[in-house]
Symmetry: C2
Subunit: 89 residues, 2 copies
C-alpha cells in the first residue's frame, strides 16, 4: 500500500492572543534581538501513513486535523502531503 | 531596513520519546485511521524581523533557536528564511 509523509501545521487564528509568543518575543529582546515585529508559536505534526491513494490519505488527514490535532475554535491548520518513494526496486 | 519572514521548526531528537505523539497516534486509531506508522509532534515559530541583511537575520535567528526556541539537549531545529517583499513602490 502506498505510504505518504504528511506535515500538519497548526497555528493560532490571527484573532487569538498568543501569550507564549509574546513571552518569547520579550525574551528575544533581552537576548539582544530587537527587530522582531511578529512572533507566533504553533504546533507541527509530522507523520507517515499508509493509504490506498493520495485522495484517501488527504481525507483521513483532514479528519485528524479537524478532530485531533487542531482545536478549530482557536486554531487553523494547513496540510502538506507527499508520497514516500518506495525503496523496493 | 529589510524585513524577513522566518519559520523555525523545532522537533524532538529521534532518540527522544514522544508520549504526546504516541497518544495522538492511539487517538487516531480510535477515530478509525489505522495506517499511521510514525507520528511526532513539534513546535513551529513563525516570526518577522528586521535586520541589515539576510546573513545578519540568520545569525540572530540561529542564536534565538539555540537559546530560546529549542532545548538543544532533546530538540533539533531547522530554519526557513525569506525576505518580505517591500510594499512601498
Amino acid at each position: 500500500m502506498p505510504r505518504f509523509h504528511a506535515r500538519v501545521l497548526v497555528s493560532l487564528r490571527p484573532s487569538v492572543l498568543d501569550p507564549a509568543g509574546e513571552a518569547a518575543r520579550s525574551a528575544a529582546n533581552r537576548l539582544g534581538v530587537e527587530g522582531i515585529s511578529k512572533l507566533r508559536i504553533g504546533k507541527v505534526v509530522d507523520l507517515e501513513l499508509e493509504a490506498d491513494n493520495e485522495a484517501e490519505a488527504r481525507k483521513q488527514l483532514e479528519l485528524l486535523s479537524d478532530r485531533l490535532f487542531a482545536n478549530p475554535v482557536i486554531e487553523d491548520w494547513s496540510l502538506e502531503l507527499q508520497p514516500v518513494p518506495t525503496t523496493t526496486a
